[in-house]
């Protein structure tokens, strides 16, 4: 018997923020501008760095809310996101890979990740059958590294020349992980 894939959109309130699965209709110019901003593009390794509304819609549509989630971070009362989590689940091993991006430059440095990380990870641990979450951070993404050192993620190691940076050069990354129950 073929198992039905269970679509489960993400929805969570954390203080003054509402986090929910993004829809193609959420694509907006402010998010496009954020993703094209040098600082954001460099931090999250979107190499082409040339988003437009259409590309953004297609990007958002690629997430199925089964194994691939794009969770927008919306301040309550606002219809445009200020950032997002991208979470990809490997069901065989109950693992997930997480990345976060702040796409509203005015919210950079304001602790969005710090305020939401535990709750987002716990949602995947408790309700989405994930037992280990990993996150890769470029070795010179100091803002994210500073955040990571204050979370329950632990440094596992360094991946040499793992990704291609915006200038075409290969970049090292650190890999952090959080195992359920630790």
């Amino acid at each position: 018997m073929k198992l039905q894939r269970r679509v489960r959109p993400f929805s969570l309130d954390i203080g003054g923020l509402h986090l929910r699965s993004m829809r193609a209709s959420d694509a907006c110019q402010s998010m496009v501008d954020g993703l094209n901003h040098t600082k954001v593009a460099r931090a999250i390794n979107f190499v082409d760095g040339e988003f437009n509304i259409e590309k953004l819609r297609a990007f958002i549509s690629g997430f199925d809310n089964v194994q691939r989630y794009l969770v927008g971070i919306f301040p309550k009362g606002r219809t445009t996101p200020v950032g997002f989590y991208r979470v990809e689940i490997g069901p065989r091993h109950k693992t997930a890979h997480l990345m976060v991006a702040v796409t509203d430059i005015g919210w950079l440095g304001k602790g969005l990740f710090h305020a939401t990380c535990d709750a987002v990870c716990n949602e995947f641990f408790e309700r989405r059958d994930v037992e280990k979450i990993t996150s890769h951070v470029n070795t010179r993404n100091y803002m994210m590294l500073a955040h990571m050192t204050t979370t329950r993620f632990k440094l596992e190691g360094k991946l040499r020349k793992e990704v291609i940076g915006p200038g075409g050069e290969r970049l090292d990354q650190y890999i952090f992980s959080w195992v359920k129950g630790e």
Binding site: G109, K110, Y142, T149
Partner: protein, 84 residues
């Protein structure tokens, strides 16, 4: 020298923190936690780390970042990595 950290390294660390926060070095206590400084946010922390990288001449690794609570901690890192 105090706590294995020279006055020179402490002054260097205070200058570095001062530049990142836009506050005079004389107004910063080397033992005050960075998170307790006015206007602390992760952008300021990022600036500190970029400045520290240029002082020690190599990327700052996560285990060092985890040790950086005060300017004195930064001074200790400078001291360790710039000794000839």
């Amino acid at each position: 020298m105090t706590d294995g950290v020279t006055q020179k390294a402490i002054e260097q660390a205070l200058q570095l923190v001062s530049r990142s926060f836009g506050q005079p070095a004389s107004a910063i206590d080397p033992d005050t936690k960075l998170v307790d400084l006015q206007d602390f946010d992760s952008l300021a922390m990022e600036e500190i780390l970029m400045e520290l990288e240029s002082v020690i001449g190599k990327p700052v690794e996560p285990d060092l970042i985890a040790q950086m609570e005060t300017a004195r901690d930064i001074a200790r890192i400078i001291e360790l990595h710039t000794q000839s």
